[in-house]
Symmetry: C2
Subunit: 345 residues, 2 copies
DNA sequence: TTGTAAGCGTTATCAA
DNA sequence: TTGATAACGCTTACAA
């Protein structure tokens, strides 16, 4: 067994022909003698020749590597999206470098720069909640770096993106609570610099408005995106003199953190307090009572983000591609945590 | 703004010196005129020069990339380990290519081969349950490929590894159930070709034996590692004429799948059935009642796996390194799902 | 102290 | 149909 990796040069030497001929024979070029090709292919097979991707990268100025930057991967959402991304990109010969920013925008910037230094051919990014890196990302875009945002996007950034209609689904979620007879609905809101947070908040407000419910500032509790923030919010709710009877949370971890805390303090879900989350997590079906939540098509989201990136990779300057914003469908999964009257529809 | 990435050649041209001098000035070599160095560094700074990692890879025959192969990343366990791996390897300038095998050994082999073709400098691997790829991995080892296994290892493979003492903690978990007065404990066992499954099963058997409980074949239910398998196992349990009163599951997903199914069928946990899982997941503290489980030091596991790999990377032939098997400590977190009598200790 | 030249593995251009 | 050569960006003997 050859320990050393076989090179074209070695094949050429063995066959007493030049490296360029070997190269041509291996690539499907027309201008090679069939016999020569046969000999080359046979030896390549026998010696288990595999092209060196590094030299190809150097030559062709592309690494066939995509950088994926996500804020966290402790919840199932991003891993699921990544599986979608990989399924599409691997089929095209790309590999994926994943960096997680642990919800820190500094780490996020560092990750992006590292990937850039590594000469990735493109980026697929979901921003951290406190993203302040839009300026840097805009620079990348100005340099025509292929880039796709998903899920946590920034509207100050002009790149292709894959999202769901956060406004619409928040609206539906809150309307569902109203349907169920809940009267005083609080919103555990996400960080305001994320489009997703603002849209979900807007959906909440507009749904209340449509049904002539008052919009009260104290009923919009600023929250992060992690479970601990939900716990904190629950404590605030417990201390309110004018108690709400339902919660619409910006996402599942926050909803679950709040729900568990309320339960520990004697609040019965959904009898005393209805709860609706967002971004369907595995946990929604495990927590008791099962959590009503908006399910996003995670795999598809990854798949489409990857496809948008491939389009850019193949066709860099096309404005039509660069302005694409794909909005995927979603679904409100109604479960016990919000069912006071039984299912309505 | 230069859109094009600056090369050493361009710096050299601008400064009217040779590329080798520029290279030396940038690298901290002794044999450069301080003034030359200063000029080079200044221009490099000004022009935002960054070395091209591809050409370095080609030259130095290393990609500064590590392949990480895991069976899944839908549960929090592997993502947590990966964070540990990254924290260590990124500090040393390595990047990480993650592939998940979706519990398929074919995909696993494909992933390994892809990473190999990509010329990763080393591997960190946790095997799928049905791993049949030990032969191929042995080939890698024979070629002195730096390789570390963790968590799901194979004892037919002679590589450094990071594990916990599955036997010991299974033993403790089962003894805890016995302590609590449970008399008829079933084991939902993992795939037999995984060392981890066999060890946990052995711990179960030996704990029963120590306390003179009978070992009954029908009480060892072969299971996979995913939640659905726990659901199936629960149905088998519900149909048993001689009903057990406690479950020791090979991992949390299986435990939770079984638990939820039993509950739906009117079995009260822990009154009618005590449940203990393994490999502490986020879900353990969300499921109701909270699940007793063995907590593994995931971050540390990743960190140490990475360190073992770095040792190999730096010191390829050292036998002492190659035979290392690190066993980390763990902890049985006792929660309501197994508490019939109250906490014992 | 600096420059020249070779080389890492491959492909593309051009000439033979 | 094939081969010599240059090039991708960088490092490193070796020569100057």
């Amino acid at each position: 067994m050859t320990k050393h990796r076989v090179t074209i040069k070695e094949l050429a030497k063995e066959l007493k022909i030049s490296t360029s001929t070997v190269s041509r024979a291996l690539g499907d070029k027309w201008d090679v003698n069939p016999e020569t090709r046969k000999a080359v292919l046979e030896l390549a097979e026998k010696w288990n020749y595999r092209p060196n991707p590094i030299s190809l990268s150097l030559k062709q100025q592309q690494t066939m590597t995509i950088g994926v930057v996500i804020p966290e991967f402790m919840n199932t959402f991003f891993p699921e999206v990544i599986i979608g991304i990989q399924s599409t990109l691997e089929a095209e010969g790309y590999s994926i470098l994943i960096s997680q920013s642990n919800e820190s925008s500094e780490k996020e910037l560092k990750n992006i720069k590292t990937l850039e230094a590594r000469l990735v051919d493109g980026f697929i990014i979901s921003l951290t909640g406190v993203s302040v890196n839009t300026e840097y990302l805009q620079k990348l875009l100005d340099r025509n770096t292929p880039l796709v945002l998903f899920n946590r996007v920034s509207d100050s950034l002009d790149s292709p993106r894959v999202v769901i209609n956060d406004y619409k689904w928040a609206f539906e979620a809150v309307e569902h609570l109203i349907d169920q007879g809940f009267k005083k609905i609080v919103h555990l809101a996400g960080p305001d610099n994320l489009q997703l947070s603002r849209q979900r908040k807007k959906g909440y407000i507009d749904a209340l408005q449509k049904h002539n419910f008052p919009i009260e500032d104290k009923f919009i509790i600023p929250c992060g995106l992690v479970m601990e923030k939900g716990v904190l919010a629950a404590h605030r709710i417990l201390e309110m003199e004018d108690k709400p009877d339902a919660i619409f949370a910006v996402n599942d971890p926050v909803a679950i953190g709040a729900m568990k805390t309320l339960q520990k303090n004697g609040v019965s879900i959904p009898r005393d307090m209805g709860v609706v989350g967002f971004s369907e997590s595995q946990m929604a079906m495990i927590v008791e009572p099962n959590l009503t939540s908006v399910e996003q098509p995670t795999f598809e989201m990854g798949k489409i983000a990857a496809e948008l990136l491939l389009e850019q990779l193949k066709n860099k300057k096309d404005e039509a591609v660069l302005n694409k914003c794909i909005t995927l469908n979603a679904r409100l999964n109604i479960r016990e945590s919000s069912l006071r009257n039984g299912v309505t529809k």
